[in-house]
Subunit: 214 residues, 2 copies
């Protein structure tokens, strides 16, 4: 029998903004994992994760004691992956077809870069959610909808470059063009629906947010 | 006559930590540019940039008036590049052989990604400095020293992947191995000097910090 694909949330140890919005997302998720010190964010929201995973080097032991209702998976400190990557792998093992990373930004800068790198390890599965923005990795030949209403913000960041990029429904259109390293694709705006994006090859980070510019 | 290569600092509109350390770096630089709203950080430190560049959409007009001693380069709002990219290009045009980006993290997440993408547009020239960490892009075949004392933190983030990676003087060594998307290269530590890194091909972000783990 095919396993049912579920939505999981991994809470990382970076900075968590928009507490109320985050709490709503967490309540809607099928599976909630805290990557080590990320558990502190859940504690602050009065929520209990299903699983706490990591080497527990950034988690207050008192907090761990308080979370007796959560499953705790402890990894050795000398390991090949960060706690976040272990959490995403576990979510996938438990049937997650979609994994949202919260608190991925704002922590140690190399951890932020690691979280971004993870996106392209799990394209189509993993998303970063950050201050109302969705960040996804697109790789190779792909066609995707940009499900944001007119006025919404869209940024395309080459990772490290993409070719044959075509967009429709955006204020600045691309017509089978290449995006090379740089900031050319930042701060576009949805002008009509349906907005969509086609890429022939390479890699791209697609950032979208329902509300427009700051 | 060959132009003298100078060190420039570009202050972005993200979050600026370590005010005192930042002020020292700025005082040592040959050329200081504020990318639009980044000027607010300089104002808070009581410093005047040589140049303010951008579309001025994120800068308080009163602040701009106060900066009559600075050169102001105003670009149209509808443009192909962010204010930060324009600032880095200008720094290079004015002879900068090294450009340090401050305040690159902590702002809008797509801007953070754009700053990271810029690193690989200017490898060997551009560096992000963030909470004591240096972040540089390495591309193609390269050998570089990791000039950090024993105990210092080193993270290697594939961007999006690198092959033939060899390290020496680090706690966890790599021997002509590939780094694929993920977090395997995060949180290494310098164990002996000289520490160095060789890459045969691909792309990599090298993060280093003199002091070790948080």
């Amino acid at each position: 029998m095919k396993k049912k694909l579920i939505t999981a949330i991994v809470v990382c140890n970076g900075v968590l903004c928009d507490a109320e919005c985050v709490a709503q997302q967490i309540r809607r998720a099928d599976l909630v994992l805290a990557a080590d010190g990320g558990a502190r964010h859940l504690a602050a929201l009065g929520l209990i994760p299903d699983v706490i995973i990591g080497d527990m080097d950034s988690l207050d032991p008192d907090l761990l004691d308080r979370y007796s209702a959560a499953e705790v998976i402890r990894h050795p400190r000398r390991k090949d992956k960060t706690d976040t990557e272990l959490a995403v792998e576990l979510a996938q093992d438990r049937g997650a077809g979609r994994v949202l990373l919260l608190g991925a930004f704002g922590g140690r800068p190399d951890h932020v870069l690691g979280h971004i790198s993870l996106l392209s390890r799990f394209p189509g599965i993993l998303e970063i959610r950050e201050t109302g923005m969705r960040i996804r990795a697109l790789q190779g030949q792909i066609l995707t909808c940009i499900d944001v209403p007119p006025g919404g913000l869209v940024s395309l960041v080459p990772f490290p470059e993409a070719w044959g990029v075509t967009t429709r429904g955006l204020e600045f259109s691309l017509n089978s063009e290449s995006l090379t390293p740089g900031t050319r694709g930042i701060s576009n705006r949805v002008s009509g629906t349906p907005a969509w994006l086609r890429v022939e090859g390479g890699g791209l980070l697609l950032c979208s947010r329902e509300n427009g510019f700051d």
